[in-house]
């Protein structure tokens, strides 16, 4: 039973007769070869013609894309096979050989082969890599119409007008071409006999089966993608199905239906269907298993010539007399409904399932709808009634029917529904918990039914209604091709209508306040009264939509997920590889159903639309949060903000000074603008800033910009208007210095300074004017002088009548003292939010206000270089105490100084190199060299907790003394001081560093070595001092390399251990009152004795000493113990000495002691020393600190102390505070 549902056409082209079609395996492209000799490349998704290839002469019948390479092949009536590149858009080469029309061409799926079938009765295989013919298959005795490779095996099937279908075995050919290794003669013989050679001795391709059954010529033949099946179509109007095994092949069945020549046929790539086309203008779909017709589509006027299937997705293309159509067989949108956190949907097997959004789990099937509608038509819609837990399903089968089914309580497999209520109708939707509406398109009627499927009410929809969807509680939305109506069921009244074209789906927001009407290319957002809120257009097909909880609509197109805000702002959220149908968005997850009706979760980044939403809703806190927590910085967002009129917010994102400047000007944030202008320092920017600042009445900034621009006239006028007489005076002097008469005159006028004017006029040799000026102001004496100079007497001059001299107006208010007060509108609530939130922005904003506090400095800055400039030019003028604003020949260096406001701080004099050192280095030594002892101490304090600097005094002064030399220069002048650098070759002021005397190497070579020698020579006091000196030298030092720094650190460690060891031993000697090891201490009190013995033991365990020195300590301790009848301890020391000792003589003694001690290894006096437990020694009390005991350490030398010493100065280094945590000594920059 064939249904005649409308065809789901996706694309149609108009052209001359299409003879060949090929789908691109990945891209949405089809190649169409035309009877008119053209090959077209279409994007069927966008509906655009990408390219045309016209090199064939006459009709092109065969066409095929290569699976992986950017190639395609075509064959035409000019007997030629052409291979093309669609990237370079040209024919790469032509394969010649066929002697008649080429009917079909196909690429092999893996080998570089092309298979062609031709009217010259041959089938040929070509290698397109070496462009050669590798096999010609003869056998058909009429035109061969079609030949195809088997998708997996080494088989070919061909169809011919000789009424036969042949299957060829080409395994021989494959062997020959894929095994180029040399073969022995025997191998060749064996192989030759293996394959049955045909009558020409050709073993490459042999006929395997000849299938006869068609009564006329066969036009097309195809293999099944997986099963051993073949389908063929012939001029006998039949489509025949064949099956084959290893050894034979036979006809299975025939599909009868075409009433004209069947021109092409193929197997559905995924489903058990056969598709065929014919000259009877129909496309027919057959059930593969039952061989019955499933569907047929008829075209009015066009005969079909060819059909092709997309290898992956559910798409087919058929070529006819007037072009090509791309279509799919069934709707792929799975019917679904969302209720709260559950999605109900129907799978491809027509099973109803649910999906839980909170648990992200899919339920097992709950129902099977196998019997709903027809076998090959999936259900269209699903409506869910939570109160009754029932679903309403519609299917387009049987010209539309619905079914009301109760869902089982728990999902226990795909059970057939027991009691279902059904009826006919195109749309069905629940409108209340016990009512549903059924729309029937054919009789244009809506029935409201109760749950027993009895009609309670009938409504006549507006004419032309095509669909009906839920329209809010008690309402329906009725959709016609041009209009959407909102209809109230209760009042039986149309509430509103809105003209929207071609609405296909309606998606309601979670709160039911808004709905999105989806058309093919439009999204229209309406409120619940069907008033349009916004609309947007997409060039690509819109597939589905869902609402975010915040009121953002996410919608999917064929290849994107996008968002739109209520105000129509939209953007791309992510791209899609496959079409999906959105059902829900939650946080960063978008839930959707794919075309196989499988629930999927996609991750998205909602930052962009959340930000925009927050912006629209003015939720600044949220914006701030988004700014802080995401990397939402980019040109697009800035442009967006600027475009939407939020320059002040955009300002927060921008780093680029130019853009910042623009934005700051736009939002009137002068402080930022000033900052940026300073950074960029371009006249154009100063110009704009001055205009803007003037408009703001911020004359302080105006003044600064004029100074930068050297607009002297404007500056004078500004001072005049702001009443700044003092600066006006200076301007006059500058003018004088510049020799600019006009400017001088003007300034004199502004100042009302008559003398100055006269002076200037005299200088300009304008004696008459000078005279008149003097005269006019009643300055007779001056006037007389001028006359005398000119050699005239008063009588010689006839002066006109004079009025009263006019004084320039005086500024009443001292405007220059402050800017005109402006209403504080600077901080938007957003900025306030930012301030409150703290963070870097706040700091930046805070600094901004300093903008022109620096201005005075700036003037001072300008003065300094200008003096130098003067001196050089030899222009004399004391008035130029500052402020030569000569605008010519300004050396570059000055300009740099102007810009670099921050760097120069001390007015006229530059910073000395010593200052650079402190700036360049975090090393205490470098600060000491610069003479900045305070900061050096501060550094040491922070790095190693230094507090007692007295021992470092000489070191500091020594470094300082080595830092500067005296270079005699001019007679009578003190010598020039120069700074000695350790970076001799460096000229970059940011990298120069002072020379530090006594580098690490020299300390190692002298002090450390001396200390060790002293140890050996038993001059412990000297050694102690040497090591202490070494520590101090190393503490304030600079290492050349990282490895040297490590060496230094090692030396510090070692020296401090030696100091500790030596101190312990010295303490013992002090107690015993003797330097010799063999002193008898029996006369001393037991406590002292005990302590002395302990100390001698501790002396041996200090780590980090060189082996020979440890040997010395062990020897001493052993002797001392043995002498004082501590035989147990003595034995321990002797053992250790034998083990690690470096001195043969000592070892010998040790062995003897050992022998003696072993006789009674007991101690006369119990001492606190356990050689088997690891411990460190307290640097203050010389008592053990066991692992795990609480202790404090010196941050510099690492020596540990008992807690009671915390806060005191380390006895080892004598400088640092015990227990103070530091960042660690720095020795390299």
């Amino acid at each position: 039973m064939a249904s005649t549902a409308p065809m789901l056409t996706k694309f149609e082209s108009k052209s001359s007769r299409a003879k060949g079609i090929a789908f691109h395996p990945k891209r949405p492209w089809i190649l169409v070869s035309l009877h008119s000799s053209t090959i077209q490349l279409w994007d069927y998704r966008m509906g655009t013609l990408i390219d045309r290839f016209e090199e064939h002469d006459g009709p092109v019948r065969g066409i095929d894309f290569h699976k992986t390479q950017p190639l395609f092949v075509s064959g035409g009536d000019d007997y030629k096979i052409k291979v093309w590149s669609y990237q370079t858009r040209r024919c790469l080469f032509t394969l010649n050989g066929h002697l008649d029309y080429v009917r079909t061409v196909f690429f092999h799926h893996e080998l570089p082969w092309i298979l062609s079938a031709s009217d010259d009765q041959t089938i040929r295989i070509w290698n397109w890599q070496n462009r050669s013919l590798i096999c010609t298959m003869t056998g058909h005795n009429h035109y061969t119409m079609c030949a195809q490779f088997h998708p997996k095996e080494d088989l070919i099937v061909s169809a011919s007008l000789d009424q036969s279908v042949r299957v060829w075995d080409i395994s021989g050919l494959r062997k020959k071409h894929s095994a180029p290794t040399s073969m022995t003669f025997e191998d060749q013989m064996a192989r030759a006999s293996q394959n049955q050679a045909d009558m020409f001795g050709n073993t490459d391709a042999v006929v395997k089966f000849v299938l006869e059954g068609h009564d006329r010529g066969v036009n097309w033949v195809a293999f099944h993608p997986t099963l051993p099946l073949i389908v063929s179509a012939g001029d006998d109007r039949l489509v025949k199905l064949w099956r084959m095994s290893e050894t034979k092949a036979w006809e299975v069945d025939t599909c009868r239906g075409h009433f004209q020549n069947a021109s092409a046929c193929l197997f559905h790539p995924h489903q058990d269907l056969i598709l065929s086309v014919g000259e009877d203008k129909t496309i027919r779909v057959w059930d593969l298993n039952k061989r019955t017709s499933v569907q047929s589509f008829k075209r009015e006027n066009d005969r079909f010539w060819v059909i092709a299937a997309h290898p992956e997705i559910n798409l087919f293309a058929a070529g006819h007399d007037n072009g090509v159509m791309v279509f799919k067989l069934e709707r792929e949108r799975p019917a679904s409904a969302v209720h709260q956190n559950q999605l109900f949907f129907i799978t491809k097997d027509k099973h109803v399932r649910s999906y839980d959004f909170t648990k992200n789990v899919e339920s097992p099937s709950m129902l099977s709808l196998k019997r709903l509608g027809s076998a090959w038509t999936p259900p269209r819609t699903l409506s869910f009634n939570p109160a009754e837990r029932s679903v309403l399903v519609t299917t387009p089968a049987d010209s539309g029917s619905y079914e009301l089914i109760n869902l089982p309580r728990d999902a226990s497999g795909a059970v057939e529904p027991s009691n279902t209520l059904r009826g006919s109708g195109t749309s069905a939707v629940f409108v209340a918990r016990n009512r549903f509406a059924i729309f029937n398109q054919t009789n244009q009627q809506i029935d409201i039914k109760d749950l027993t499927n009895a009609t309670t009410k009938t409504i006549k929809p507006p004419p032309g209604t095509t669909d009906m969807v839920f329209g809010g509680p008690g309402c329906l939305l009725l959709i016609s091709p041009t209009t959407v109506y909102l209809y109230d069921i209760q009042q039986k009244k149309q509430l509103a209508e809105l003209a929207v074209l071609g609405v296909k789906y309606v998606v309601w927001s979670g709160d039911g306040l808004h709905a999105a009407l989806l058309s093919k290319h439009n999204v229209t957002i309406v409120n619940k009264s069907l008033e349009q809120v916004s609309t947007l257009h997409e060039t690509i097909r819109i597939k589905s939509a869902t609402w975010d909880d915040a009121g953002v609509l996410l919608y999917s197109t064929l290849n994107h997920i996008k968002y739109t805000l209520m105000n129509g702002d939209n953007g791309i959220v992510r791209t899609l590889e496959h079409t999906v149908y959105l059902v829900r968005v939650k946080g960063r997850s978008v839930y959707c159903l794919d075309r196989a009706a499988k629930p999927k979760v996609l991750t998205i980044d909602p930052t962009e639309y959340r930000f925009k939403l927050a912006l629209v809703k003015r939720h600044y806190d949220e914006m701030l949060n988004i700014i802080k927590n995401s990397s939402l910085v980019g040109q697009s967002i800035i442009a967006y903000l600027q475009k939407k009129g939020y320059p002040e917010i955009a300002l927060q994102f921008v780093q680029d000074p130019q853009t910042r400047f623009e934005l700051a000007i736009e939002c009137g944030n002068l402080d930022v603008a000033v900052d940026m202008a300073k950074q960029l320092d371009r006249p154009k920017l100063w110009q704009r800033l001055s205009t803007e600042a003037l408009a703001h009445g911020n004359h302080q900034i105006v003044e600064m910009t004029y100074q930068k621009l050297r607009s002297f006239d404007k500056l004078s006028f500004l001072y005049l208007t702001t009443g700044d007489q003092e600066k006006l005076q200076r301007m006059a002097k500058i003018a004088e210095h510049r020799g600019d008469m006009t400017s001088r005159f003007q300034n004199a006028l502004f100042l009302g300074d008559v003398d100055m004017r006269i002076e200037m006029l005299k200088e300009a040799d304008q004696y008459p004017l000078a005279y008149l000026t003097a005269k006019a102001h009643g300055m007779e004496e001056q006037a007389r002088e001028i006359l005398e100079m000119s050699g005239l007497s008063e009588g010689d001059v006839r002066s006109p009548e004079m009025g009263k001299p006019v004084r320039p107006p005086r500024a009443i208010a001292p405007t220059y003292k402050a800017n005109w007060p402006t209403k504080s509108a600077g901080t938007s609530s957003f900025e306030k939010a930012l301030m409150a939130g703290g963070g870097e922005e706040t700091a930046a904003a805070g600094q901004d206000t300093n903008g022109f506090v620096e201005e005075e400095d700036l003037l001072a800055e300008e003065e300094a270089p200008r003096n130098g400039h003067l001196a050089e030019e030899g222009e004399d003028d004391e008035a130029a105490a500052g402020w030569d604003m000569g605008d010519d020949a300004v050396p570059d260096a000055e300009d740099e100084d102007l810009v670099d406001v921050g760097a120069e701080t001390t007015g006229a004099a530059g910073s000395s190199e010593a200052d650079l050192w402190t700036r360049n280095s975090p090393l205490a030594a470098d600060h000491a060299a610069a003479g900045n002892f305070e900061s050096a101490m501060n550094l040491l304090n922070r790095q190693v907790g230094a507090v007692n600097f007295a021992p470092l005094e000489e070191r500091f002064l020594e470094i300082y003394a080595a830092s500067r030399t005296f270079l005699p220069a001019n007679a009578g002048m003190p010598p020039l001081i120069n700074f000695v650098r350790r970076t001799v070759g460096e000229t970059d002021s940011r990298k120069i560093l002072p020379l530090i005397p006594r580098d690490v190497e020299s300390v190692l070579a002298s002090e450390v070595a001396q200390g060790k020698n002293a140890m050996k020579a038993n001059k412990l006091e000297d050694g102690l001092q040497s090591f202490q000196r070494a520590l101090r030298l190393l503490m304030v030092n600079a290492a050349a390399t990282q490895s040297q720094a490590q060496e230094a650190q090692h030396a510090i460690r070692q020296s401090s251990q030696y100091i500790l060891a030596m101190s312990i031993e010295l303490e013992r000697r002090r107690l015993v009152g003797s330097t010799t090891t063999t002193a008898d201490i029996s006369s001393l009190p037991p406590a002292t004795r005990k302590r002395a013995l302990e100390l001698s033991a501790y002396f041996t365990v200090v780590e980090g000493l060189e082996a020979q020195h440890t040997t010395l300590a062990l020897f001493t301790a052993m002797q001392f113990a043995a002498k004082n009848r501590q035989m147990g301890s003595a034995l321990g020391f002797a053992n250790k000495l034998v083990e690690v000792g470096t001195n043969a003589k000592f070892k010998e003694t040790a062995r003897r002691t050992k022998a003696a001690a072993e006789r009674s290894p007991t101690d006369a006096l119990e001492i606190d020393f356990d050689s088997f437990t690891a411990f460190e020694l307290c640097g203050g009390s010389y008592t053990p600190i066991y692992a795990g005991d609480v202790s404090a350490a010196c941050a510099f030398d690492g020596v540990k102390y008992l807690p009671k010493y915390k806060g005191t100065v380390c006895k080892v280094c004598g400088v640092c505070e015990v227990g103070k945590v530091g960042s660690g000594l720095r020795l390299t920059v």
């Binding site: 130098g868 001196a871 050089e872 230094a946 020594e958 300082y960 080595a962 001019n970 000695v980 005191t1208």
Partner: protein, 298 residues
């Protein structure tokens, strides 16, 4: 014609002066040998040489009030000598007065400029010196003042512009070397070549040149060579305070005890800058140290 130009008769004495060969300036030249117009400059150079040799008293004595009144040059010399003898506010005021009144006089520019610069009135000194008309002495002094103010950039400009009109004159080379010693890097080596050339040729050698050579070598990190040059300088003038001061620095750099050098310097000039500076630094150290109150073990 510029009397200091290579053809002029003042060239030799001037060169000797800037090479700090002061005894030669005094003994090898007599005023009467020169043309009348050049007698005054010679006289002034000799006075300045005397000052440089520490004979300011004699200079003051030999210039009468009348001479000083009639000739600003001599007035400037007298002020200069008295300032060198003992820096006083009066001398500075006198220098300021001269600078204002006789600012166009080269001697006034140089000598008063020196006084002003030493009296920490660098701005005024620079203004005064800016009035010179192509005098390399003025340029050299300007360069030094700029360097004193740590304005290497401006000093470099001065030196460069001087080179543009005076080419390879000795003073230009010297001024550039002084700047180079501030710039460092390759400039150290260039400066060294200039100083070495002066110091090593017998006709131009002086303690000052040797010291300059030693200093440049010290900056280049060649301590041994620096020491040799310094010793040579001290041999020539055992009491040269600059040499002694640099000796102290060299000792410090090489890690030797600086006490000996300090004593020597103290005996030569008790109030030498480096000594005062070191003293001040020591005090500074104590002051900074006092901010920390270390606790010692009870």
């Amino acid at each position: 014609m510029d009397p200091f130009s290579p053809e002029g008769e003042l060239l030799n004495i001037h060169t000797a002066f800037i090479q700090a060969q002061y005894p030669s300036v005094l003994s090898d030249y007599t005023t009467s040998d020169f043309s009348p117009t050049n007698r005054l400059p010679v006289q002034i150079l000799q006075y300045r040489a005397q000052c440089a040799l520490g004979q300011s008293d004699e200079v003051i004595a030999s210039i009468s009030d009348a001479d000083a009144r009639s000739t600003p040059d001599l007035a400037a010399v007298r002020t200069y000598a008295s300032y060198l003898q003992k820096p006083s506010a009066g001398a500075v005021q006198e220098a300021e007065r001269l600078a204002e009144k006789e600012g166009d006089n080269l001697s006034v520019q140089l000598l008063c400029g020196t006084i002003l610069a030493r009296a920490e009135k660098a701005e005024q000194a620079l203004q005064l010196l800016a009035k010179h008309t192509g005098s390399l002495d003025a340029v050299a002094l300007t360069v030094q003042i700029h360097l004193l103010q740590n304005r290497t950039d401006l000093a470099l400009q001065q030196a460069k512009s001087a080179r543009s009109f005076a080419q390879d004159a000795l003073l230009v080379n010297l001024a550039e070397s002084w700047v180079g010693m501030r710039q460092g890097g390759e400039q150290y080596q260039k400066a060294f070549y200039v100083f070495e050339e002066l110091a090593q040729s017998p006709s131009s050698a002086s303690a000052m040149s040797l010291v300059a050579q030693a200093v440049s070598e010290l900056h280049l990190g060649r301590m041994e060579e620096a020491e040799t040059a310094l010793n040579a300088a001290l041999e020539m003038e055992p009491e040269n305070t600059t040499a002694l001061a640099n000796k102290l620095v060299l000792d410090a750099v090489t890690g030797r005890d600086i006490a000996e050098a300090r004593t020597k310097l103290e005996s030569a000039d008790k109030e030498h800058e480096i000594l005062a500076d070191m003293m001040a630094k020591r005090e500074g150290f104590h002051a900074a140290m006092a901010k920390y109150s270390p606790k010692f073990e009870p």
